[in-house]
């Protein structure tokens, strides 16, 4: 069975390594894959987009462990969730906000821990990783399930209204406006851009709108950064035009 990791732990402190170690110890046959460890610190909305777009590429049955958890040790709950044939483990703080029809279990009910040591600042190691290991071994959560509680900061989308939901490493500005709601032009940050196919359709340095790999509208700059060219921020409107 496979376990993937999405965290904001970076790759300098060994926190992600500690989690991989716990899984190796508790589920020795699990194959662990790093999806992303450089989610910006505490950036729940960033993690949510990574979960939405990367996790689904794995085989059904994969366990996705997501630890972007600024409220660790506080009142936010931990959950085990299932959606689209995959399992998800992490805090119910918005990182799973796009899995809107997921079934979710309180992690303490799903997998009672008994008297195991738990660091109040590292639930990733002491609560989430053991739960992911149990799922990887074939255990299934006990008790009643409900829905995830927490959504994204910019709320539910209305038809034909998109928002900037992610800015990637290359400066591409990614929206949640689906391809199916756009004809030939999009409006963003006071500009109207024709929809093209790919970066190569414009000259170097020019803005280009296209349907991105998540099947939503994106705006890039060929050989440049659209986030700075447009001066947009997450939550800003992206509309058909």
């Amino acid at each position: 069975m496979r376990v993937t990791l999405v965290t904001d732990f970076g790759t300098r402190d060994g926190y992600a390594g500690a989690i991989a170690g716990v899984i190796a110890r508790l589920a020795p046959d699990a194959i662990v894959t790093d999806i992303a460890h450089d989610v910006p610190p505490h950036d729940i909305a960033h993690a949510a987009w990574v979960v939405r777009t990367a996790c689904r590429e794995f085989p059904a049955g994969t366990v996705h462990l997501v630890v972007v958890d600024p409220g660790v040790g506080g009142s936010r709950r931990g959950v085990v969730a299932t959606y689209g044939g995959h399992w998800y483990v992490g805090p119910d703080n918005g990182v799973f906000a796009y899995l809107d029809r997921a079934s979710a279990w309180d992690i303490d009910t799903a997998f009672p821990r008994g008297d195991a040591r738990v660091s109040p600042t590292f639930h990733g190691r002491d609560i989430f990783a053991p739960a992911a290991a149990r799922l990887a071994r074939g255990d299934r959560p006990a008790g009643p399930h409900d829905k995830l509680h927490i959504g994204l900061p910019w709320g539910a989308r209305e038809p034909r209204h998109g928002r900037v939901v992610h800015v990637d490493r290359f400066g591409n500005v990614i929206s949640d406006l689906p391809a199916t709601e756009v004809e030939s032009r999009v409006a963003i940050s006071g500009r109207t851009l024709p929809l093209r196919t790919t970066y190569a359709d414009v000259a170097p340095g020019e803005l280009v709108a296209y349907i991105g790999s998540a099947s939503t509208v994106e705006v890039g700059v060929r050989d440049g950064r659209a986030d700075t060219a447009l001066a947009v921020t997450r939550g800003d409107a992206v509309m058909p035009a």
Copy 2:
């Protein structure tokens, strides 16, 4: 079978994770290893050096998936190539420039895709990863093969003339001047440096020329950065002296 990944996707957006997911889905027995995901964005020459020096350390038969692809969706072709008993998959844009005797297949001919969905901006996920998975499963490319088309920006090397081809994380300045073409001194950026063995042969803060781990001339600064000390850039001359 093994598949390695060299990309400029970074470790924050999940793009490399999506590729690992596709391989897990299409070639479940493949072992996926990350070689480098922080190639500077769109830096083909950087990727080429990583491919030259790291891929060959893997066992024969390994499939190396290289996605540094600023021209994605444009006219650059995708290829499957074989060289030295290894397989390579990616864009024919210079990332394989050091594999100068490789045999190469157009990827569309090698592994016809039928009507699979292809994002014009993420061939890594939709074209290259599926091809790497097929190689990992033992499929071999069909149709005629030829040579790679695209070389490095600084062209072929003349005997006893080297160029700076890579600057690493530590600021070491790495050339393509082979150890076999140097006796005891090298000239770079207006200076002449004696050839030493390792950093410890000079005092902290001093420049040191040595034969690096790729068997070519390198220049470092003990406990410092040679790139800034020398003010060199890739393509600059490195000569025997």
Copy 3:
């Protein structure tokens, strides 16, 4: 058998990938896990803390390959060590300083290399990785063993005296003062802070002292960075108060 990697190689140059390749070639059944590759360049004390806290989470028998090695090719010795049922391979330069009761073998004695090619600047690839592969295959070191030679720059700790030993990605300031030597308050950088449980116990922007995931005193800032708020540096005192 498992092999983990802790290095300061970053994820842009392929050095860590080359090491993974050597292990794949020499110990094909080994499972390789990246613990941390973005240890700050040449930062031995940083690596030592990662080794102390992350490696022990893996199953007994795991081989931990640690390559933070500014003195490569000089007089520092390479070692194979065993501690707590785990194996460690790397330079005896302080990276293993917290494994204070480890048994250590000179690597040249433990695993004589014969006439294998060795780059004087990349012992990670040519000496340490082959030794890790041999351990992963079940070989055990030959010859006499002794202790590790090199400790941390700030020396042994006195009872009820702690030092700042690590600053993590989030700006948390981590000490080596054990939870067992503190009652309810700690003194650091001219301030006295009450011991709390987790970040959520204070308001955003406030300093918070707590027992961290290594069971030592840490100081954080909720939704902020304690390293800048306290203006502390590694080696500074952290005391019960």
